[in-house]
């Protein structure tokens, strides 16, 4: 009995000690705790908010105005301050970002549930659908094929997803309101236009059971057409971008330059 009491006392003190030492290094134990996180996608053009029907100028004297602005996001994951990665569950990890569904502030909210509690320092996501997911066929797609088809994000002449869908018109000194349709995706296994971006967060996103961080992601649509490296002319084969290897690759590369994280709210 005495032995048991002694063991108990030792264990108790060990427990207290271990707790104390944790407190000392300021580490809370987040094991098993999950919370929610919101990604807010905010489309803009340079220093303006994006608005349907508004005419925006491009670098080369061309201008454009859009009636549809959608893109696919997938494989969203986060890296915490210790370098650990949290991948949102695969089968639910595809999203359509559709400007038409934006709130009055022009934001499209993606609420991610059951995210591991941690202090995240960066977010990574893909633009489009990767080859691995294509190779699964219908497996794990649930209702997404239907959802994408309803959103006009699939082709009916081929079985691919559209990664981006920009519809509208463009004009220049010599052209007035010509059709502009940028429907770009991968083409089977022959052409892989999936791209990934990793954005560091200016302040940590602290996911807790009681705290839902909001990551405000700005997407500069101007850079789809005038990226830091490649500017395109609509009149030179870029007013209709569908499956051409060269033009779709340029749009895919430019799409991977449009995103930045403006700020993170930890509420």
């Amino acid at each position: 009995m005495k032995f048991i009491k002694l063991t108990f006392a030792i264990m108790l003190s060990l427990t207290i000690l271990s707790c104390t030492s944790d407190d000392d290094s300021n580490t809370e134990d987040l094991t098993g705790q999950t919370g929610n996180l919101v990604l807010k996608f905010d489309n803009g053009v340079g220093d303006q908010d994006f608005i349907f029907g508004t005419t925006y100028n491009k670098s080369n004297g061309e201008s454009y105005s859009l009636t549809t602005l959608k893109y696919l996001i997938s494989n969203v994951r986060f890296t915490d301050e210790n370098g650990n990665e949290f991948m949102f569950p695969h089968d639910d990890n595809v999203f359509i970002i559709d400007e038409a569904t934006a709130n009055n502030a022009g934001e499209i909210w993606l609420t991610l549930n059951n995210v591991d509690a941690a202090n995240y320092t960066s977010v990574t996501f893909g633009i489009g659908i990767d080859q691995e997911r294509y190779a699964l066929g219908a497996e794990g797609q649930g209702d997404f094929l239907t959802e994408a088809a309803d959103a006009g994000m699939m082709w009916s002449w081929a079985t691919g997803f559209r990664f981006t869908r920009f519809d509208g018109t463009y004009s220049s000194a010599t052209i007035t309101d010509e059709a502009l349709n940028i429907h770009m995706g991968s083409v089977g296994t022959s052409l892989d236009n999936y791209r990934e971006v990793t954005l560091s967060l200016p302040n940590n996103a602290r996911v807790r059971q009681t705290t839902t961080p909001e990551v405000h992601i700005k997407a500069d649509i101007a850079k789809v057409f005038d990226s830091d490296t490649t500017s395109i002319n609509f009149a030179d084969g870029y007013s209709q971008v569908h499956t051409n290897t060269e033009t779709t690759t340029v749009i895919a590369n430019n799409m991977s330059t449009i995103f930045t994280v403006h700020h993170v709210h930890n509420e």
Binding site: Y134, A135, L136, G137, A138, E139, G140, Q141, G142, D143, F144, L145, T146, A149, D150, M154, S156, W157, A158, T159, V187, G188, T189, S190, L191, H242, T243, N244, T245
Partner: protein, 349 residues
């Protein structure tokens, strides 16, 4: 009070037993998909979609169901009839809803689990996703995926069949497409006279003319019609004069690559005897016409496959009258009567 409790329990038990009716639960009976000894490896990954008896049954019902189309009357089987190796009997190009006419000849559905890409131009690279093309094409079934799913969801028979075929029992596009794939995966044609001859089964031998045809075929055709699937799955321009009415650009549509102009997928030749008419637009109604074309009808449309260039600078495959006759005799040994009459694939068993 006690009586009331007993009554409640009785009702509960009764309702339980009704819900777990044998008809309505997921009790998968796995189906082993055998790869014929003379076939290449299967490309379809069965781990992602294990084939079961109930999955095949659901796929079959969907295949023959006109509700997959906008006017509820054009099922997959409309253009894919079993007696013709699941092609559209006699039609050059097929017609769909609202009297719309397509621009290509319906291809046979056979040995799909062994193919990497689908359609004449390779527009689909996964069997699961292929049906989306005919279902949503205005020229074919003209329907939307969500409408199809809604129609199925209101049907009690489908509720039962989806529950039996899939663990989650959901009537959604994933499960619908998986069931269609399961039905197509087991549609394997591998028991023609030729198959039995190469596998040395049942003492089957070829006649002298069939053997001559096989020899000529091996010498002059197998660089494209390779393996016992009789296709290397490449896309090639075989020098058909372009039909200006259709102006079908072929594989060019997929990648907008000028090198792909007028290229079409090399078709399998299995059951070729019954899949007339031939070529992507069904322009030839007999095998004789096809071989006459290869011998003497090709034109230089600017992008003809170099393997078809003859030493005299013209395009074609030189064939004597006897070579043509014997090749046709050989091609008829590829007719698989077991497949064409297999009740597992028949609308009415």
């Amino acid at each position: 009070m006690n009586k009331l409790i007993i009554l409640c329990i009785a009702i509960t038990i009764w309702s339980c037993s009704k819900n777990t009716d044998f008809d309505e639960i997921y009790q998968p009976i796995p189906v082993t998909v055998e790869v014929p000894a003379n076939f290449p490896e299967m490309t379809y990954n069965l781990d992602n979609n294990p084939v079961t008896e109930d999955g095949i049954a659901l796929g079959k019902k969907l295949f023959f169901d006109g509700r997959l189309s906008a006017n509820n009357s054009i099922p997959c089987a409309f253009c894919h009839e079993q007696a013709f190796a699941f092609t559209h009997h006699g039609h050059t190009v097929s017609h769909g809803v609202d009297g719309n006419v397509g621009k290509r000849n319906a291809q046979p559905i056979q040995n799909m689990a062994f193919q990497r890409e689908f359609m004449w131009d390779g527009a689909s690279s996964h069997l699961d996703l292929q049906p989306i093309i005919p279902i949503t094409s205005d020229l074919e079934m003209g329907e939307t995926l969500s409408n199809v799913i809604q129609k199925l969801q209101t049907d009690n028979e489908y509720k039962k069949l989806f529950r039996r075929a899939f663990e989650d029992g959901n009537i959604n596009s994933e499960n619908m497409l998986k069931a269609l794939s399961q039905f197509m995966i087991v549609m394997i044609s591998s028991n023609s006279k030729y198959d039995k001859y190469v596998r040395q089964e049942d003492n089957v031998t070829l006649t002298a003319i069939e053997q001559d045809g096989l020899n000529t075929f091996t010498a002059k055709c197998t660089s494209c019609h390779a393996t016992d699937l009789f296709t290397d799955e490449s896309y090639r321009n075989n020098g058909l004069p372009v039909n200006p009415q259709l102006n079908d650009l072929g594989r060019f549509d997929i990648l907008e690559n000028p090198d792909d102009l007028y290229k079409f997928k090399v078709p399998s030749l299995r059951n070729i005897e019954v899949t007339y008419p031939y070529m992507h637009d069904g322009r030839f109604s007999t095998l004789e016409a096809v071989l006459n074309f290869y011998n003497q009808g090709m034109v230089d449309n600017g992008n003809v496959d170099p393997s078809l260039l003859r030493t005299d600078g013209s395009y074609g495959i030189s064939l004597t009258a006897y070579e043509k006759t014997s090749i046709i005799a050989f091609l008829k040994t590829l007719t698989d009567y077991e497949f064409l009459n297999d009740e597992r694939f028949a609308e009415y068993e």
